[in-house]
Subunit: 243 residues, 2 copies
């Protein structure tokens, strides 16, 4: 892990860009916090530059609770090399949605499963590097989109002890079996009228999670319309579980 | 409205029992608050004495936010005269549930519709009396069970400006039309494995509400297993809308 830039934000949060091999990432640490601090891994749909405004807002809120926050670029997104098969699957998905056709399991599998297979080991490698920093301790939470990535991480990565999952992307059928194996506390956000998601699929996935403590917060509006208070409630979930 | 008893609780909250005609009720006001205070009407399934521990806990939390809270006995419950038809409908419902049979629309209508017709004017009369007290101002919220009562109140009572509704009772089909007419902000609580409720019916009702701002919070566990943090989130909803 190589830090490539560093700046202090106006609220005292230290923002550092890094690379982990070929993968760019960003780490935010609170200006004043007793170290080592808990860490939140922030997932997103891909495209660090485009997502930056929302990511830095989430990181500032996390820092206000005393948490460090980190994110890495997704496979095939941002400045990382494209995958031809993923681009094709994404185009097929877009075409189906725009034509008002059902999104087939075949398209979803072709788009999401390779992404999960590639992203999850990258998040784990990032976690190794982040936890090696003296200022980062634990416990660790995962927060974010691509709910299949969060689900797989919650199953395979024992260092993640709570997760906020955003039900805003299509989920391969096989992920339901993985969901049943999740046991950590979950806080699931659903936008009731999300155009990039099936509501019933999201409810079924929530039902499938094996966790004894799981909460679903559904709010009105589309994919990007998560109200501010919903973000605050997600923060309080982490405050309950990561402190 | 006649006050019949008065006591100061250990946290300074003033608890006063009252009668409104033949209807018993309880009013809790914060020990220290700038008057006039906002008011939360606290619905419940009926049986003030049995419900008292949960009601006083909810009232204390409301008082800590600076809200007064009040409740009245439900029609045919507690010390109020029984209704033979309601008792019969309740017995039929219990029999169907215990036999694992579907609860028919006919039973639900027979149980719930007369209750709504009777309870809603009583809540409105209580609201008249409560708002006439110098220490109670507004705005007014409704919080509680018997979701059909809360739904009808939200439609017909313009002085109620936000509601926390507990999806823990069967809902007559005709209430869905009323739900579409609700426009105030709603915060709906659903216990995912509630034995006294149909989950799909609760989700359909949530979908039907006409409110632009509505949030569903689903938690694990049965009817009485609402976690403490879910109550705190409901309080924050009122803090956003009644202050």
């Amino acid at each position: 892990m190589q830090f490539t830039s560093e700046q202090r934000l106006d609220d005292g949060v230290l923002e550092r860009e890094f690379t982990l091999g070929e993968i760019p990432g960003i780490l935010w640490t609170p200006g004043s916090a007793s170290t080592p601090t808990p860490l939140i891994l922030m997932g997103h749909p891909g495209g660090l530059h485009m997502m930056y405004p929302r990511l830095v807002a989430r990181a500032r809120h996390a820092a206000a609770e005393g948490f460090a926050a980190a994110t890495i670029e997704g496979p095939g997104s941002g400045e990382r090399p494209r995958s031809a098969t993923a681009e094709q699957a994404r185009a097929d998905l877009r075409r189906a949605v725009e034509a008002g056709e059902p999104v087939t399991d075949e398209i979803v599998d072709r788009l999401v499963l390779p992404l999960v297979d590639k992203a999850v080991p990258e998040w784990r490698a990032a976690l190794d590097a982040l936890l090696a920093l003296p200022e980062i301790g634990g416990p660790v939470g995962y927060s974010g989109g691509v709910i299949s990535v969060g689900t797989r991480l919650a199953v395979v990565e024992p260092r993640i002890s709570a997760a906020v999952l955003f039900a805003g992307s299509f989920v391969p059928r096989t992920m339901f079996d993985e969901a049943r194996q999740v046991t950590i506390p979950l806080h699931v956000l659903l936008q009731w009228d999300d155009e990039g998601n099936g509501r019933q699929m999201a409810l079924d996935l929530f039902d499938a999670f094996g966790s004894k403590e799981k909460t679903l917060h559904a709010n009105m509006g589309g994919h990007t319309g998560v109200p501010q208070y919903a973000g605050e409630e997600a923060n309080r979930f982490f405050a309950r579980h990561l402190k």
